[in-house]
Amino acid sequence: MAITQAMCTSFKTELLTGTHNFTNGANSIKLALYAISSGGKSSSTATLGATTTAFTTTGEVASSGSYSTGGGALTNVTPTSSGTTAFADFNDLSFTTATITARGALLYNSSASNKAVAVLDFGADKTSTSGTFTIQFPTANSTSAIIRIA
């Protein structure tokens, strides 16, 4: 039972078959939050990693405040490149007046049968209590961006 940060292997294959389009206004990429202990919506806890192929409700945190099960829609920043590295980025995402404990998140493409993109590991449980839960994406450059192809 763990959440391991990874680019989903199925996503790599799907890139080669033209399944995903991260252009702003194209595919709807969502971010769902997961717990590995308390905070999960069911008794099952999340097991996410490179082998994850699609969005799952197992271990997803319960709806609270502005967070609804299924997660929040991200605003895509149209991919670009620097040097030999191409990268994608998203605007930060906040859930307000929410009571949430999450250990990680799954990026998935709700425009493509909820196929998984990447698993994000927070490193530790992150908790908001009747407050704001914000995910800040890294600087969009060739060394830090959230999704990079070098």
């Binding site: 009747s130 994406f137 060394t143």
Partner: protein
């Protein structure tokens, strides 16, 4: 044989949380600073130190104006409520 090496990576995200209300000015200023200034881990020490000083000043400035924006917004809300006859609520918000 022809081969092409391609590497894919997932970046590190930050999570900011708050209790019993929204994010603080400190948290918002830190988030904004991270979007404005990126200091590479492998930057030469002298450059990294200079960049860190600059980043700290940017964050201080952001914090000041975020606080100012909050106060001014509360002032506008307070006056709007007073004009509508909700003096008790207006006073409550003014004291936040």
């Amino acid at each position: 044989m022809i081969s092409v090496d391609v590497g894919m990576d997932v970046g590190k995200i930050d999570v900011m949380t708050s209790n019993e209300g929204g994010l603080s000015s400190d948290q918002i200023a830190e988030m904004a600073r991270k979007k404005i200034i990126y200091i590479a881990d492998d930057a030469p020490p002298a450059i990294r130190d200079q960049a860190q000083v600059f980043a700290d000043r940017v964050e201080d400035t952001l914090r000041y104006y975020i606080d100012l924006a909050k106060r001014e917004e509360r002032g506008t809300i307070t006056q709007t409520l007073r004009n509508a006859g909700h003096t008790d609520i207006a006073e409550y918000i003014r004291r936040l």
